[in-house]
Amino acid sequence: MKFSIHQKDLQRLLTVAGDGVPKKTTLPILSNYLIEARPAGVRIAATDLEISISTSAETAVETPGQVAVNAKRLQEVVRELAKDEVHVQVDAGKFKMKCARSAFELYPMPVDDFPTLAQERATFSARLPAKTFQALVDLTCYAVSTDETRPALGGVLIQITDKEIRFIATDGHRMSKAHASGKFPVEKGEPREAIIPPKALIPVAAWATESDHEVEMELSSAAATFKVGATTLTSRLLQGPFPPYESVIPKDNKKQLIVGREALLSSIRRVAKLSDSVSHQIRFSVRKDRLHLSVSTADIGAAKDDLEAAYGEDDLEIGYNAVYLQDILKSLDSDKVLFTLNSPVSAGVVTAVESKRDATALCLIMPLRLQD
């Protein structure tokens, strides 16, 4: 194997594929990049067995071939190289790299050990603009559960109908349902939904946004594949069932509260400094055209703040987890947000008033039970 590539291009390929390298692993081969030189160019791949990433660039290849090298070391070395042409070759069982006046040798691992994820024929495909995909990801991924015992909640449920695409995430305390309209060629009998972990969605959105490429999505019965330019990410689907999310969206929330998003966010940040470190409890006291925020934590202290708001219903006292509220407010991108509320024990709905994003979201948050 022998090829040359500019340091800048090589570093970019390694960074992109680097999202597929597991941080910790029991299989040593997974700590490696698989580097393939083909007549048309070079391809770099990595996998943690749940997702696999492969990215390529056109470059001058002298001799085709394959090699598996330690990802962390290669990335660190390449980052420090001169901004110049890098000459790579495998010779006498060693991975050799020269750039300007520096030279490196790394000991590769057997290429045959590198796992390949089974490819299945895609049964569905769709294209989404970068901004739409990024918006759907930002509006939902924060609500994904980190609970390993509930694997289905560890991903975003993607549902596709002929008119819209939906992303739904929940951890059992809050939920976000985002959607964007479009025309999707859904036919009978094809899978229209899949649960995909955020670690697959977040990098795809970032690549698309950086390059302003469309995201091409393909679903098969076991995997989802996302293509952005010359980069492909394949993710195993998480096993369902996903809980019946439609049934928990409240229909009888009548009390409407409108607040400035930025003002509310900074107010929550301030008072939450004194909130309990586990429950992060803050109290909303909703009054006519005012929203009072307060925190009172045993052994720590108390804080109060207050905001102008638009509200004309009965007074309401509700406790919330400040972190959950901040996640919601940060994901929305409007000047004002609308809370539709019912009671201190039922789900509140938060939506953007005149969203600037390419997707809209309905956010649900369950209150905290207030003491006293």
């Binding site: 929940t170 429950s279 052994d299 905290l368």
Partner: protein, 427 residues
Amino acid sequence: MGFSPSRGEARHGKEPGATRIIFHVDMDAFFASVEQLFNPHLRGKPVLVCGDPDGRSVVATASYEARPYGIRCGMPVREARRLCPHATCVEGDPGKYIHISLQVLDLLKTFSPSVEPFSIDEAFVEVTEQIEKRSEMLNLANRIQRRVRATVGVTASIGIGPNKFVAKMASGVHKPEGMTCFSTADFVRHFGPQPVGELWGIGKATSEILGSLGLRTVNQLAAAPRELLAGTFGIVGPGLKLVAQGLDETPVVPYHQAPDAKSIGHEHTLEQDESDPEILAGHMLRLSDMVARRARLDSFAGKVISLKLRSSDFQTFQAQQGLGHPTSDGLEIYRVARSLFERLKDGPAGDFHRGRVQKRKTAAGPIRAFRLLGISLGGLVRLAPDPQRLLFPEEQRYRDMMSAVDRLRGRLGEGILVRAGTMILEH
């Protein structure tokens, strides 16, 4: 709620060094009383709690009905049986005693924030702040006794004193369900003429040494020269003289200031080696429930669940799994324990690697037999009780149901509701 003033604040408003009022609450024949509480057939009858009723163990506790026969703690079971052939011997069950003990502590905490659990059946309660006039002391002690009897179902004797030592000595004077209030002078009057071995903390060895110094009674010890005691016993010597005078400065260290537990665990040695997965699952469910219940009683939730297994050939395996969130739910703990069991059960094929079990490639043999199971909950955080409401109604209903179950168990005993999955163990 859990807010209680720290010790410094608790004394606020009273003169430093003002007389403290300390209760020593001592449960009467605790293990035997708990057994009688759980099994009505044992009530009013002589009951001996011991290690192994058929083996060569000793009596841990004898009920008051057994004491007239001359049965005392520490006596070999065989001798006790000879003295009182119709006594029922019961094998000790620590789970029950812990449960009742925690109930008593919770109750004591409603009287004063300053409760120091001293052992499974005794606790110190400082009530200096709770009492305006000294005449209220006996009333308060009486209320505590009545509440313990009415809500928990066992009896306690209370010693009242100006320090922990005197309170502790006083509680043993009148039993069961007695109440003794000693000032320092009362203490000296009552214990002064008695042998030094009567004092808390002075055992046989120390008594003998004191005797060899000519100090046989408490009064003699109280009057002994400090230097003599320091020379003989070193640093603890002068302390002996102080306690003999009924003096003790050690503070009551409240429950919530004691270091937090790192993990909560229960383990169970099976009566016989067991390989039936259904029965093992029943034990895991029971242990998970016990761990969860303890965690909830102490307002803890944990993020790491570990399972310990000991096979019939005495090999011990352990594995753990982290959750993304803290839990105190028995079923959730059980589910994790069960999946750990699936990974561990095939025995030495399991190797530890970064806390996870990696299986070697071995042919799956028949399921092994196990002699011990243990489940513990680590990565504890204080969570009292989780105020977060749940989005999915069935989950909220489950949580509401579990808290109703807890209240029922708290009021009527652990056995009032059991999971169907543990009933396999009844046979």
